[in-house]
């Protein structure tokens, strides 16, 4: 469980000064008359969403860069302050729209921590299973789009085909493919349907073979190796200083995973390994993503075993002040009717306090800082977006790269603009 970096990628620090996120053209290395300022505008063909990079080019070399975000700022935090606790959960998955269960889970965990609510075991395992499926989903989207940008176009279709299988599982459980709003305060909204674990187990058997296929396509491909090895270097010290987390950090040699080091849900009861690679380049980040997909399948099959064991147990907490009572009770019990009325009209209230909860989303550490005033609506919700932090590293990793490598490096940061802009 050592978290010390294992190798040095480069000496010293490459973080630009005085502003860490703006790389200024160095007049000693480039003649200023040669510099061409190019705008990789908010609408560009690589599918990261609306990221704008203002790049100073000396020929094909990147001499200066500045990332401009905010083209997808949706005002989530302000909107959530005006909705009741129950309704504000629908806003959360639409931030990081590729890892939607992670965001929902994060927000709901924060509310449950303030409430002090204990979630039944079956719901914990169901949440973990969905979170790991979501991790595989996010990595597949990342792999498909990154490979598409670097030219391995066929991988897009393979990855999205697997992704459709995962979305079928989400649809089975939650009713819709994306943004299922299935994670609820107290547990999960409805019990997992019968047949879910069998379908998921079939998926667990086919997925590792798919990962092997992807590696077979890419790992010995000379073009892929040329384009990703040694590109986008980030040392461990710089990564920690720039608040990188998740695959970015693990590819730079720091052995840190919130699921293992600061476990939440039931991650301390499952066995999995955490892939760490020392070189801090795009190739290592790719390897971390691939290995994480395999580890997620491992965790998923263990969760499915536990789900089979807990079959028939409650899937949502019993606390009627927070959770809706089952409908059949409304006909017979007066208290249930009153609870139902209070929860649906006013919403439940969360005791006063502030809390910060972080989980390991597929992009890194996603955190939620929640302030409640004891009322029926949140007072302040602040999401710590891993993509926001990852984009801060743009200026550090693209130094002296060519344009084509810039695309590879920016893709390896795995930014999702909904997350970065909130």
């Amino acid at each position: 469980m050592s978290v010390l970096p294992s190798t040095r990628v480069y000496e010293g620090t490459r973080i630009p000064r005085p502003v860490p996120t703006i790389l200024e053209v160095d007049p000693d290395k480039h003649r200023l008359e040669d510099i061409l300022r190019v705008n990789f505008g908010p609408n560009h063909p690589s599918t990261h969403g609306v990221l704008r990079l203002v790049v100073d080019l000396d020929g094909e070399t990147v001499a200066g860069i500045r990332a401009v975000i905010g083209y997808l700022h949706t005002g989530f935090e302000k909107n959530m302050e005006h909705k009741s606790w129950w309704k504000s959960v629908t806003y959360a998955p639409r931030m990081d729209y590729v890892a939607f269960h992670a965001n929902e889970l994060l927000y709901v965990l924060a509310i449950e921590k303030l409430l002090g609510l204990e979630v039944p075991r079956r719901a914990v395992w169901a949440r973990m299973a969905l979170a790991e499926l979501n991790r595989i989903h996010s990595h597949l989207v990342w792999l498909g789009t990154s490979a598409l940008e670097l030219g391995a176009i066929s991988l897009f279709w393979y990855c999205f085909d697997d992704r459709d299988q995962i979305l079928d599982l989400f649809e089975m459980a939650g009713g819709t493919r994306m943004h299922t709003r299935y994670v609820q305060v107290g547990g999960i909204a409805e019990d997992l349907p019968p047949g879910f674990t069998e379908e998921a187990r079939t998926f667990c058997e086919t997925m590792p073979k798919s990962v092997d296929d992807y590696e077979a396509i890419l790992d010995r491909n000379a073009i892929w190796l040329e384009r990703t090895k040694g590109v986008g270097l980030l040392s461990a010290d710089d990564a920690l200083a720039l608040a990188q987390s998740g695959p970015m950090l693990r590819a730079s040699g720091v052995d840190w995973d919130l699921r293992r080091n600061m476990p939440y849900l039931a991650y301390d009861e499952v066995e999995f390994d955490v892939p760490v690679y020392p070189n801090g380049d795009v190739y290592d980040r790719y390897r971390v993503h691939m290995d994480e997909m395999r580890e997620s399948v491992r965790i998923l099959s263990q969760c499915l075993d536990k789900l089979d064991e807990t079959d028939g147990e409650p899937w949502i907490a019993d606390d009627r002040k927070v959770v809706l009572p089952p409908r059949h009770e409304l006909h017979t019990s007066m208290e249930s009717l009153i609870h139902h009325f209070k929860i649906v009209t006013e919403g439940f209230t969360v005791p006063e306090g502030e809390v910060y909860v972080a989980i390991e989303s597929p992009r890194g550490e996603a955190g939620c800082y929640l302030v409640s005033d004891g009322g029926a609506r949140p007072w302040r919700v602040k999401f710590r977006a891993p993509s926001f932090a990852a984009l801060q590293a743009t200026a550090t990793i693209v130094q002296e790269l060519l344009i084509a490598d810039l695309i590879a490096a920016a893709g390896s940061l795995d930014p999702v603009m909904g997350d970065a802009d909130r």
């Binding site: 505008g41 560009h44 063909p45 599918t47 969403g49 083209y71 949706t74 005002g75 302000k78 994306m178």
Partner: protein, 191 residues
């Protein structure tokens, strides 16, 4: 002016400019073909050609973009409509699928991309956020992309299933083949 279909499509030929002379060999042969088929006029043929390979522009903004990417995937194959070539250059695109929420900061680039497209061009507002602002009724989201670009088809959903987007695209095709002009010709932008 003659009311034969070729004239309506703008063809200035002998029999249009010189009505007393009568049709030339070419026009007579086309006339015979039209009379024999009784089905296709030039407009219908043009509409058929427009719909069969309508190239969308890559304007994926948010969650709907992920579902838009999945119609390119093999299960909801959009290549059967000839639309798998998403062109990044708006100059080569026919269809702008606005997928996702549009902020005030993103609105000028959106309008710029729309202006760069060449006529005929169509716009699909995909999802609730593009159609009307969706669940985000706040200071930063444009309440419906039809405030800045004229929209042909609104596809509801949050996000709409790939099949729903397909239905929107198919209905757009039906509109075009039915002869409905693109939105910029019949309506402006909303207030």
């Amino acid at each position: 002016m003659s009311d034969r279909p070729l004239a309506k499509a703008g063809l200035n030929s002998e029999r249009v400019l010189w009505p007393e002379r009568g049709p030339g060999v070419f026009e007579r042969e086309v006339q015979e073909i039209e009379d024999a088929l009784l089905l296709t006029t030039v407009e219908k043929a043009v509409a058929w050609a427009q719909t069969n390979a309508m190239w969308p522009d890559t304007f994926g903004l948010a969650c709907c973009a992920i579902e838009m990417m999945s119609i390119v995937s093999s299960r909801y194959d959009i290549a059967r409509f000839g639309m798998e070539r998403f062109s990044s250059s708006p100059r080569q695109a026919d269809l702008l699928i606005v997928s996702g929420r549009v902020t005030h900061k993103m609105a000028p680039p959106l309008r710029q991309v729309y202006d760069q497209m060449l006529e005929p061009k169509w716009v699909i507002a995909m999802g609730a956020c593009a159609s009307s602002g969706g669940m985000f009724n706040n200071y930063t989201i444009l309440q419906g992309v039809d405030k800045i670009v004229p929209v042909d088809i609104h596809v509801p959903g949050c996000p709409p299933r790939p099949e729903a987007l397909m239905e929107g695209i198919v209905r757009l095709h039906e509109k075009i083949r039915g002869g409905v002009p693109p939105a910029y010709a019949i309506r402006g932008v909303a207030e």
